[in-house]
Symmetry: D2
């Protein structure tokens, strides 16, 4: 059960926020996602709870897969934080979570809650990392980048390093060898993060790493999974003579390139495309696909579903 999973680490901030709210009453925006065994009346109870506090539902997505007896929902609502203070809101949803034996119940108030903290892991290829930094700078990626970790060295004079310095984002160079993946050091650096982003990190994270970290890790693969797993998928696709190439963002699991898919994008190629143009077109897809996955994740749109699927509301 992942009820209020970000709870303890940020409860004090929330208390402060609650106090700040008390001083005014402009309506703010809340998001709630819920996963529980399917029974009659869940939507009724959720919406009654929100309405009873004066909250107004602006959208609600419900998904009940056929013959699976599972219920997923995502609600967006507008509420008055004076009338419905955060601690009351949290305990209201906790009560519902218990009532329906929820496996997951997460609430976010984006205007008030701290942004998700992420770390970005990269290797030599820059394009996804640079794209994430630019989107973040333009305010289009609702995250706080706590650090960038790379197993590839960069000169202080590169665009990435200068950008990170200017914005005060630490850069950690951790060269890996086949004998030393530096996983322990990575774990220490990312301890405070909410999730990890692998922006073309050319290392396989061990099951032990994933278990210890315990939170989600999002990867971008430059192929249309489940085709072209593993190394050099652009070369694999080129040799296979495909007419469409793609990119896939997915959750990382111990098994290589086999975690649940979040987003996929494609583009046409022809006999005129070279391996080099496959790579360039792929890079363009990877950037968009990874950014879209992160954005959806931060907006609580992505829920794991069965062992290898995702609900993306």
């Amino acid at each position: 059960m992942v009820v209020g999973r970000r709870g303890s680490s940020i409860s004090s901030l929330r208390r402060i926020a609650a106090r700040v709210f008390s001083s005014y009453s402009a309506p703010i925006h809340g998001i709630h996602v819920f996963q529980c065994p399917d029974v009659v009346g869940i939507v009724a109870k959720l919406s009654e709870c929100i309405a009873s506090r004066g909250g107004n539902i602006h959208s609600i997505d419900v998904f009940v897969p056929g013959n699976k007896q599972v219920f997923y929902s995502r609600s967006e609502f507008v509420f008055d934080p004076v009338r419905w203070p955060r601690d009351v809101l949290d305990s209201d949803f906790l009560r519902l979570s218990r009532l329906f034996s929820a496996e997951k119940s997460i609430v976010r108030v984006p205007d008030v809650d701290p942004k998700y903290k992420i770390a970005v892991l990269a290797s030599k290829q820059d394009h996804c990392l640079v794209d994430l930094l630019h989107r973040w700078q333009e305010g289009r990626l609702p995250v706080e980048i706590s650090c960038v970790i790379s197993n590839h060295n960069r000169s202080p004079n590169t665009h990435v390093i200068r950008f990170l310095e200017r914005h005060g984002i630490p850069y950690h160079y951790l060269p890996t060898t086949s004998g030393n993946k530096r996983e322990q050091e990575v774990l220490e650096l990312v301890e405070q993060t909410d999730f990890l982003v692998l922006a073309r990190y050319m290392q396989i994270l061990s099951g032990k790493f994933l278990e210890t970290y315990g939170k989600d890790v999002i990867n971008i693969h430059h192929g249309l999974l489940p085709s072209f797993k593993g190394g050099n998928p652009s070369k694999q696709a080129f040799d296979a003579g495909v007419k469409l190439i793609g990119a896939t963002s997915h959750f990382v699991t111990e098994e290589l390139d086999a975690g649940a898919i979040i987003e996929q994008m494609v583009e046409r190629v022809s006999h005129r495309d070279t391996l080099q143009s496959f790579v360039m077109k792929s890079e363009n897809l990877e950037k968009q696909c990874l950014a879209q996955a992160i954005k959806s994740y931060c907006e609580l749109r992505v829920l794991p579903y069965e062992s290898k699927k995702t609900v993306v509301f």
Copy 2:
């Protein structure tokens, strides 16, 4: 207010269906759409109503446009017709409709309700008409085609005429002149229909016709509205040197090609395309675009919104 708008004409059928239900209790599928002034608690009341009768919501879409104080929803739910007979279901939703001063409240039980009756109006061009007939024959268009009306004569030996004869669908040839649009005769032929489909009907329906008919009319326009209104949009697009052509399905209003848009599709063109290939690509789009609009409409996914927009859940 359009509450139960198809009510009286099919109430007897529904009574029969209700009686049929009584003999077993396999759960069936219901759809409810609702439009009313936005207040707190609508979703709560709707879902509580469904749950109180043992109905289980499988999906619910809510749309509350910013600063508009209007609420739209579409719910799909599974229920036991013995436990929740149709007359009780209807009166339950009628009560909610009154409670929230709904402008629209429609319920359908697709497995039991009669299919929507449509008439298809066409001129010389066959492609949309033929496509609709094929989709209908393959069971992919949930409608009953009460008749086909054309202002273009067809020999009895054509595919269309033979198809219609084989399936017992009447074909009415009503040649129009600038002085006589035959609107009165069309009105009489389509009186029993639930909505009309203009499958490349090259006549403008008068405001009087639309008012007298009083139900929805869906048109396919072979251009990307609001570009290329009026005659020969493919030629207009060809002359404008566009690199993308499109098709638009929309509701018909008195003003030519200006009704609310339901669906639009596009395809790339290049300098190598001729006017003829513009037309061929367009026809392919028109078929898909019109079929999609009709399908969405029959599934109660399309709601008019403001004067010129649609919600398409």
Copy 3:
């Protein structure tokens, strides 16, 4: 070398056509494709040959893959059949073919040459077969369908059987068993065809069959190859939780679903899609993808390239 590969069987027809031409001189349209080792001056010789006979090149596509020393071209030209009779045309291109040691040199004059003869092989699923028949009927598929062969029985009352009867196309029901694939009978039925189309034929053709037939066989696979080879690719894709599904038309080789890809198409899916909607979306893609491949093939746009690729001009 496949120079003039359709030659002997239709040479008499061509002689008749040549004589017909002699009586008038409206310019007609020719297509020439060429594959040979790359050297300097091929385009010059080809275009000089066409120009010397008064032919006017309307388009020419050249492809010389990097570091491969192979040259591919496809030319479209307009010529006067009186000034350049077909036998002279053929011998002109044969001379060039010898000059450059061409592996392939095919010329077609679509307005005059007999249409490509095909046989369509199908099993139980009808959608691709029906779609091909409709396109053929509408004049959008430039082939002659010599027969339809199926290992699934159809009642005389079905749309397919009635359609075939009405158009005088033979239908052969050849039930297969694991022990008897009926390949010998198929071979006899298709002997006069120019290529075969597998429209969801659920049998693997043996290497011996392919070798004996000796001409091209085009298949449609309902998955995005090289993902999801073999049986039930829609189920495979559904279980893999993909966000994009696709269809692939390709040449058939002895190895299952591994021949060179001609065309691929995709469509988005989401968690709301069921296995059934995967299948329906896939069927829509399959129809378009197969028809596109056949059309491109007939227009001499498709050339095998390396062992597993195609040039699609």
Copy 4:
């Protein structure tokens, strides 16, 4: 006639290049575009010319619009600059140009010729400008940016200004008023450029400006022309209730948003999209669409065709 239109200004550079070539003989890449009245034998002469100097054609695109008696071609070839020095190459093509009374004959040797010099004009909106700068920095835009001109002031601390300073690209702030468009100053600043890029420049360039400048000006319009000309096209599209929005890059003519279209891109929108999300989706399209147009233009793929069209090879 625009034969060798960049000739005089860079002839000295070419002479230097020619001398550099003499010292080695690695084969290099040439591009030639040609426009002339259509007659028999143009491809033959062009390809014979290239072959006679040992050049090897790698691709050739020919376009002869139906019933227009115009011929357009674009050839890519590999040649040995020792065997075919630039001055000979130029005079060879000049001879052909005269032979066929060509309206246009341009040759480029991208590895050797100076990059096209452009100036970018922008207003307040940064997204297209920033995107161009990033692509340029990553080596994906084969141009030299001679300066950026803006009628909107930027603080020295902004990303744009810092970027330009770091790369030594002059930034000119020229505030415009309804009485003073500063066109004379712009003209002086852009005199040495090969073409201009309007990256959301919110000023209409006068016919006099365009005539005096005399070279091409490429604009990005945030609407799917010819729909939504003029101001605030995103608002226009939003109000029209469209289901697809687009962006258009086109040549600038005196008539607002009416020049020949080079590239168009679209994206789906729904009732859930707000004016703000229309703008965000549009900005993403604008960036890609403008960059694509510039790239095609620099590769000599874009040729004006009739009064309002383009050939884009």
